[in-house]
Each structure stands twice: as C-alpha cells, then as structure tokens.
C-alpha cells in the first residue's frame, strides 16, 4: 500500500487509536496507590537525585538558575522520550494476542503507548509551570518555540519507537538492549550538563544526536528564556522528521509478517 493509503487507513481507525490510548492511560496506574502522581514522581525523583549528586556533591552549577530547575527542564522532555520508547517498542509484542486475531493498522499500538506517555508529559508539565512561579523564573516570548520543538520531539519518538517495535517482533533482543540503549542515550543528551559545558571539539558529535538539540532548545526557550541555537535546532527538527518517515516505512514493510512470526 502507498503512504497515502496507509495514512487514510490510519485516519479510518482514529477512534481505535483514541480507545487504545484511553486504555493505556487507565491500565498504567491500575492497582497503584499513587495513581497519576507517578507521572510527576518519575521525573521529580530523577531531578532530586541529580540535584543532590550533581548540584550538591559535585557542584555542577549553571549560571542563573537553580540546579533543580535546570535538571527538570531537560528531564521533562527526556522522561517523555524514554517512557514512550520503552512502552512503544514493546507494544506490538505485548499485544500479540491481538496481532494474531484482529486486523487493524498495527502502528496504532506504538502510537497509543506514545500518546499515553504524552499524557504523562502534560501532567508533569503542569509541575514545570509551577516551578516557574516557585523559583521566580521569568517567562519570555521564546517559549513559542515549543510549538515546533514538541512536535519534533513527538516525531522523533514515534520514528524510533516504530523501528524498535518492528524489530522486537522479529528479534526479542530489543527488550534487553533497550535499557542499555536508554542509559547511553540519556548520557549523550544534555540533561545533567549543558551543551556549553562540552569541550568545543566534541560538541558537534554530541549534537549529531537529534534529541540533543531538542532537549537543549527546550531548556533554552523555557527556563533560560533565550532563543535556541538555530543550527542545531534546525538539524534536530529535520532529522526527527526524517526518522519518523523512515521508521513508518520500515514498520509498514515488516508489518505483514507480524502475525506469522510473533
């Protein structure tokens, strides 16, 4: 099927995407005591740990803003990326009973996992807004860049998830590789440090990672209230959408054998 054919099929099943997302959000916190609070607690716990280790023990300081705000502003988009990737990559295999019994566009499974993670992102984002007031961080017009940064982050996340989800159907190794991959990915993304703290000659390599430009820009336009570095950001946006297109094409190509090999 062509790309437009695939997309129109996806539009036809949009109600299913909504129903799946609804299910993902509902079951994620079923039989937990704290429920939705976990959406906030995950990035908050990491912020606390990083603030103690890097802010207090190692005294990594960053210009004008308190370290917790500095860390959270990057952990917020990062938590979304990493939780969407872990749920999205495993989603097809986790729904194997559906794959072998019912027809629907298979990308709905990773997409709904990502949408549920995006819901958490919004909840955690509310805390972020609260932080602005608590730490008295001024909000500027640069925040409008989020209108392109967040869609790009979504595109990148969907692209990588689709690739990993398809590979995971064929080779279950993904499940074991994923935690290592995310760990490395996190350290290669400017979360606990900022791009400016990287020695000049390595900077370009770090920025090859499209998530780097997005996370750095996210921090720039929010808590730092300054315009992003245009070249790295433009590169990240372009790469994110390229990865989305490649990931979708790869997923649709492999999709046909899912029911036979899952």
């Amino acid at each position: 099927m062509t790309l437009t054919g695939n997309l129109s099929e996806l539009v036809k099943f949009r109600e299913l995407l909504l129903a799946f997302t609804d299910k993902e959000i509902k079951i994620r916190y079923k039989q937990t005591l704290l429920g939705f609070l976990w959406a906030i607690l995950q990035p908050a716990a990491l912020t606390l740990i990083f603030s103690i280790v890097f802010g207090v023990f190692l005294k990594v300081s960053f210009s004008t803003i308190p370290y917790p705000v500095f860390a959270y502003s990057a952990l917020l988009p990062w938590s979304f990326l990493s939780s969407a990737l872990s749920f999205g990559s495993l989603s097809v295999v986790n729904n194997s009973s559906l794959v072998t019994k019912v027809y629907f566009p298979r990308e709905i499974m990773p997409l709904s996992s990502i949408a549920a993670a995006f819901f958490d992102f919004i909840v955690a984002g509310l805390i972020f807004i609260l932080m602005f007031f608590i730490f008295k961080v001024p909000i500027g017009a640069n925040i409008a860049y989020l209108l392109i940064i967040i869609p790009s982050l979504l595109a990148l996340t969907i692209g990588i998830s689709l690739i990993l989800a398809a590979i995971n159907v064929l080779y279950r190794d993904v499940r074991f590789v994923l935690p290592i991959f995310l760990q490395v990915f996190m350290y290669l993304t400017p979360i606990i440090y900022s791009v400016e703290q990287i020695p000049q000659k390595y900077r370009v390599y770090v920025l090859l990672n499209p998530a780097a430009g997005l996370v750095e820009s996210f921090r720039d336009v929010t808590v730092l209230n300054r315009s992003p570095q245009m070249v790295p950001l433009a590169y990240s946006i372009a790469m994110s959408f390229v990865i989305l297109i490649l990931g979708y094409a790869y997923f649709k190509k492999k999709e046909k054998v899912f029911a036979d090999v899952i």
């Binding site: 099943f13 109600e15 299913l16 909504l18 129903a19 799946f20 609804d22 299910k23 509902k26 079951i27 079923k30 039989q31 009973s97 559906l98 794959v99 072998t100 019994k101 019912v102 027809y103 629907f104 064929l170 080779y171 046909k256 054998v257 029911a259 036979d260 090999v261």
Partner: protein, 258 residues
C-alpha cells in the same frame, strides 16, 4: 479486466500460504549456518522446513451467503479466516474482501483483564471498527445479549470464561459487520448461550456474509448454505452442506480404520 466486488463478497484466487516449521529466516543464527553446511541434504531439509497451510485455494463467497468450513485440526481452516481479515497475507494468489469484517475468532482477544466490562465493550467495539457513537447506540442490546448486566463495573479478570466469551461475541454480533467470521465460538459457553449464538447467526444469515468454522456439524448444517471441506491445506470438496459433510464423515471413518 478488473471487477469490483460487491459489499460482503469474498474472493480467493489461487491462494498458497506456507509457514516455516524450523525457524529459518527469523529464527536462530545456528539454523542459518547449519543450512549452509548441511550440503547434500539441503534439498531435503528445505522441504521439511516449509509447511503448506494452504495451497491452491480458490473460492468465492457471495453477499448474504453462509459458508461453512470443515476439516480436521490443522487442515488450514483458521488460516483462511486470518487471510480474509488481513491478519496474515498470502504467499501466492490474491485475497479480496469488501465491507466491514467482524471477526469473532477466539474468545477474549482484545479484551483487557484490568478493565471493567463496560470499558471493555467500548474497547472491543473500537477494535472491531465501531465508532464510539455506534457503540453507545448498541450498548444496551450488547449488555442484554451478553447477560452481564450486574457485572458491568467489575474488572473482567474476575469474570468466568463463559462471561468472557459472551461479552466478546455480543460486541461482535452488534458491530454490524458486512462479513462475520466465526471460529469455533460454540465450543465455549453453556447450552443456553450456544443457542442464542446460533439464533443470532441465523438472524444474520441471508443479510450478511458469514464464514463459519466449526467441528459442530449439526450447527454447520443448520446455518450454512454451502460448505468447504479442506484437508492438508487443499479443498477436498465444496458444495451443498449435506453432500460435503457426508464426504467428510466418510473420509474420517475410513482413516480411522486404517
């Protein structure tokens, strides 16, 4: 010349479908290496590797017709249903089907344990291609047919297996498909529910296309207008229910004697 199918019509043209019995392509590296080194016996091992679930299958189901598929376990019956619903794809040949397909293939596929009965009705309805508004409209009928009224707000992990399959079948029956695929649904559920399922299928017959896989020959006889008997992935006989069932019974008793 390309002919458009009518809604509810199904067409199989020279379908072949094989599965690899040893894992080959998506399996272990050592199989791939082993294959390379096995040299002389490679032709033989290749034959063993491929298992034809279906070969050379052609048939047409017309709108409103009820087609029964019978045959021993492993004959390829379920594979035919999977091909119609586009869950799996043929290796050779062409499968065409037009209209909304409702597949009641196995109990509980698509139901989620942690969700309540009500939530599952909406989820499963969506899986079967219904919109939220459609489900809302049919909701009361679905609940009544399934007979789970008292347990709507209970997570279905607490349901009995009979309640499970009743819930699944009810949603499917009210999803208003053009083509209904039914695979051995009658094996589960109590006699009362079996009776209601058959009644529901009877009410579909004539208006909707049904493809019905079952070992229950009486049910096949009572609902189907045409029956296919398959064995080893090939069509042995296709025709009027009585004739085909007779052939099936004759063959099975013969093979039992041998």
């Amino acid at each position: 010349m390309k002919k458009e199918l009518q809604t509810g019509q199904i067409e199989f043209i020279n379908i072949a479908k094989s599965y690899r019995t040893s894992k080959g392509k998506y399996g272990l590296l050592r199989d791939i290496i082993g294959e390379k080194f096995s040299g002389l016996s490679s032709a033989k091992s290749k034959n063993q590797e491929k298992f034809y679930a279906l070969r050379n299958i052609s048939f047409t189901v017309n709108p409103g017709e009820c087609l029964g598929i019978i045959g021993n376990n492993g004959a390829g019956k379920s594979t035919i249903l999977k091909l119609i619903s586009k869950i799996t794809y043929p290796e050779k040949g062409l499968v065409k089907a037009r209209g909304r397909i409702g597949a009641f293939i196995e109990l509980g596929a698509g139901l989620h344990h942690e969700l309540t009965g009500k939530e599952n009705i909406y989820l499963y309805g969506a899986i079967l291609g219904m919109s939220k508004a459609e489900i809302k409209k049919q909701y009361r009928d679905i609940v009544r047919f399934a007979g789970i009224g008292k347990f709507l707000d209970v997570p279905i992990k607490k349901y009995s297996s009979g309640m499970y399959s009743r819930l699944g079948f009810s949603v499917c029956a009210f999803s208003d498909p053009d083509i209904l695929l039914v695979d051995e649904v009658l094996a589960v559920g109590d006699i009362d529910f079996q009776k209601r399922c058959l009644e529901k299928m009877h009410s579909f017959a004539g208006r909707k296309t049904i493809v019905f896989v079952s070992h229950n020959l009486d049910a096949i006889k009572s609902i189907c207008s045409r029956v296919i008997f398959i064995d080893g992935g090939e069509i042995v006989k296709i025709g009027r229910p009585n004739d085909v069932i007779k052939e099936y019974v004759r063959r099975s008793s013969k093979s039992r004697k041998n």
